[in-house]
Subunit: 416 residues, 2 copies
């Protein structure tokens, strides 16, 4: 199995200012390609430290991926560190300079003089295009080993990895056959899931099954190896059907799919439309829905009715109902959902009202109490939820749970 | 300045399943004590890798903090790695065994045999009490250097650091006092900021000034050291006033403040209210505003008018204007903002309309073009912006820029 080593450059990573999320992204990607990540070095913005890390990493591995230190300031020393490690000079590349100038010009700006250094490459290396920033990456070879230098900004790094690094690594990793599938689950806790899967999650098995959790969404990774792609795939498919049999509807999607993407895909497939009416989530659900490119095909509008008066004026929720049941109630959630659907002429509607805290909780309506209504021509269902955690996490879970409730309703209303 | 090095042990940290948050916590804590964190090694659950990391780290630093690999399974090798590094044997400690057995008994359980290994220490080292788990930590000395081994579970590690590690390190680091301030900036690029600050950002200065960037928000860190707290504070305050003189209104806040929090604070202080009317951000701006606890004091509602029809039906934007100028135009942004303010009876109103991509761009209205209108009784200002990046980053920048425009208008309309 070919080996990879990671280098993360930046004082902010050592002083605790920034949590290094790049390395986890790269670790997952490389593992998916069939590479074993054997070490990671985190070093300050210092030339000797960067050069030393390159030396150590090149002893560990066949491919070294470095992130950070490609900016335009004096602190950005990865280009120089790579040049020293290779024993070559930095050279200005006119075509890179033109590209960088062009990026500034497109925004009506002159390129600051200091950005010039970003057009320099160690001799004998190649530039990697940066589609969302000024700093090009660097690809170098020494002996049989590959070296890739990428920006530290996560969005730029991910884009560059996918467009310029992975296409080089995938064929190079070659006959190693690894199959990596992700199943996305929602609606049950991590320990409940682990219990259901039992010893299938033990280390050292092939395929290996493990899980990561973010805001209630559990991602199950099934990673199988085999002498051929077909053998690896067969192992993974076997495991996937066992897992699906055990988890059933807890699994909502695959790969990197978010709940919003899955719901959007279903709505588009069915030619149905959606609206949202939000109180405590204040726009978060609309944001999640419109995070999906092309959302305008199924979403035309939404309301943020934060105050009682707004619920009445914008959505016609009866002040009597609000008085009698409270703004945080099944009745108000239902009234918001049905009015939103009617006003926007959408097929489906989600409404959320709750107590996100930290203030505003009472004995009967504690912080974390949220009502979620999903309405369609087939009727309105309201779900009462009690979420733990802080304001951010209550709002996130409310919006995820609402999307999951819609997903379930889409399946129930319109059997496949 | 005394130097620290960190070691994080665990396959899951390299394969991307787990993001290492422990290291950022420890980095921040150690910097706060006046230690410089100079390196970090992330290694798999392998004896040779752990021993090698201890060797490298001990060459870098006066104190080495290792996390992970103290569990009861065969994969937990940090104790053994430390013993090999020190050239000693592991020895069972009866009093540790009693403590571990006691933890199980308290939960009505027998201690599994494999937990016995957690009662073993390298000869000549000391145990660190674990108040929330079974694995004791380890403290060792070699020469003048300190070594601390702690569990990888973040809650256990943090508790152990605070109760058993910091009390040893604080007096050892000695009289060094550290003062750390953050200034939050928006509206100028990183290189422009660095240019303005010039050599104040050079490494090795006291106070040290460095910066981190997230979605257009630049955090400037000013970190000063002195023999007394007063001396450190004076250094930082001096630097802060120099920086403020150079950056002026580019600085919008301090500490961990977000733009939404600063705007919310101003609105609350002035007794003014806000509404939002969003097209391409689809709820994101409302979400940012209502992320702030107590947002209901200044925010009563908002609109997500994604389609042209929604802009007309909900906010009365004239179809003629949309036809003539396009939905992405200064005219439509202004019409959305003024209607939103009128309908919600708010003092201030923000509207955003733009092309978030990836589809929908044209030559005259490319992806990234966004109009932001801020309306008040004093009039409406519209800003035309061209944002680079992907859909997510265009939407984030649009919402941050809108909050910043409101912040500027609050200062302009109502001079302090």
């Amino acid at each position: 199995m070919k080996r990879a080593s990671l280098i993360a450059v930046g004082n902010e990573l050592l002083s605790g200012l920034t949590i290094d999320t790049n390395s986890a992204f790269l670790g997952g990607q490389l593992q998916g390609l069939g590479l074993e990540v054997v070490s990671r070095y985190t070093v300050p913005d210092e030339l000797t430290a960067i050069e030393r890390a390159l030396t150590l990493a090149s002893q560990d591995a066949d491919v070294v991926l470095l992130t950070g230190g490609l900016g335009p300031t004096d602190d950005d020393l990865s280009r120089q560190g790579m040049a020293q490690f290779l024993g070559v000079e930095l050279k200005l590349k006119e075509h890179l300079l033109d590209t960088i100038k062009g990026r500034f010009e497109a925004r009506g700006l002159d390129m600051p003089a200091r950005n010039r250094v970003q057009a320099c490459l160690p001799e004998g290396t190649e530039a990697l295009a940066n589609e969302c920033g000024t700093a090009p990456g660097v690809m170098a070879r020494r002996g049989d080993a590959y070296f890739f230098l990428m920006p530290g900004v996560p969005s730029e790094m991910k884009r560059m990895y996918r467009s310029a690094v992975e296409p080089v690594l995938r064929p190079w990793v070659g006959s190693q056959s690894i199959e990596h599938r992700r199943l996305k689950c929602f609606g049950l806790g991590e320990s409940a899931l682990v219990e259901k899967l039992g010893d299938r999650m033990q280390r050292g098995r092939n395929p290996l099954i493990n899980c990561t959790v973010t805001l209630g969404v559990i991602t199950l990774h099934i990673i199988g190896q085999g002498r051929s792609a077909a053998a690896a795939r067969e192992r993974v498919e076997d495991a996937e059907s066992q897992v699906r049999a055990l988890l059933g509807d807890w699994i909502y999607g695959t790969g990197e799919q978010t709940l919003a993407e899955v719901v959007a895909g279903e709505l588009q497939r069915l030619g149905q439309t959606l609206t949202v009416a939000e109180s405590c989530t204040g726009g978060l659900l609309g944001k999640e829905v419109t995070d999906v490119p092309g959302a305008s095909t199924f979403f035309n509008r939404g309301w943020i009715t934060y105050s009682n008066q707004a619920k009445t004026e914008e959505l016609g929720v009866s002040p009597d109902v609000i008085d009698r049941c409270g703004a945080v109630s099944a009745e108000v959630a239902e009234a918001m959902a049905t009015a939103g659907r009617r006003k926007s002429k959408s097929d489906y509607s989600i409404a959320i009202t709750g107590v996100a805290g930290p203030e505003g909780g009472t004995d009967s309506k504690p912080v974390g109490l949220v009502f979620i209504a999903v309405d369609s021509a087939a009727g309105c269902q309201v779900k009462r939820c009690c979420f733990a955690g802080d304001r951010r996490s209550i709002r996130q879970r409310a919006s995820q749970t609402a999307l999951h409730a819609l997903w379930q309703k889409l399946h129930f209303d319109l059997p496949q």
